[in-house]
Subunit: 100 residues, 2 copies
Amino acid sequence: MSEFIGLAAAALTTLSFLPQALLVIRTRQTNGISLIMYIMFTTGVAAWLVYGIMEQSLPMILANSVTLLLAMVILGLKIWHSLQARTQGATEATSAPIAS
Amino acid sequence: MSEFIGLAAAALTTLSFLPQALLVIRTRQTNGISLIMYIMFTTGVAAWLVYGIMEQSLPMILANSVTLLLAMVILGLKIWHSLQARTQGATEATSAPIAS
């Protein structure tokens, strides 16, 4: 029984990042998403992957590889949108008419 | 060595939801956050908690209790904001002047 619950838990927590990645790709909306969260989370999942390799645990390696991929997509788009917003802000500032 | 990596991974993935919860509480912005992700993730973390209790693993019980609490805060605020947006949309629709 606990084996089944563990597998269900792993599948749910791993695949839960898929709808978030798809939403970010589709809407390009990331301002509600915490950059710090995804830096910490992605680093943590990478550490779980290293741990799984050291412990030679195939379920951990598979689950954390999928989660790492999805988390990196979300983190990458979050960084990309933050940089875009910053450059847009900068161009607006420089092109604004200077009050004479 | 792998023990240390496992602990670091657990701490990072658990605490990563704290900055997201604080951002949502502070900015009230959840439209970039996927409701389906947090329903799946919260269910998955609850399952990990049940698994940890069945396996009598204190680290799993502690880590997943913290993550569950933080994930429920984010999920609760996401649902709350979605309901608010819906009722606001409904009141605007009914109070809009009917084109005669």
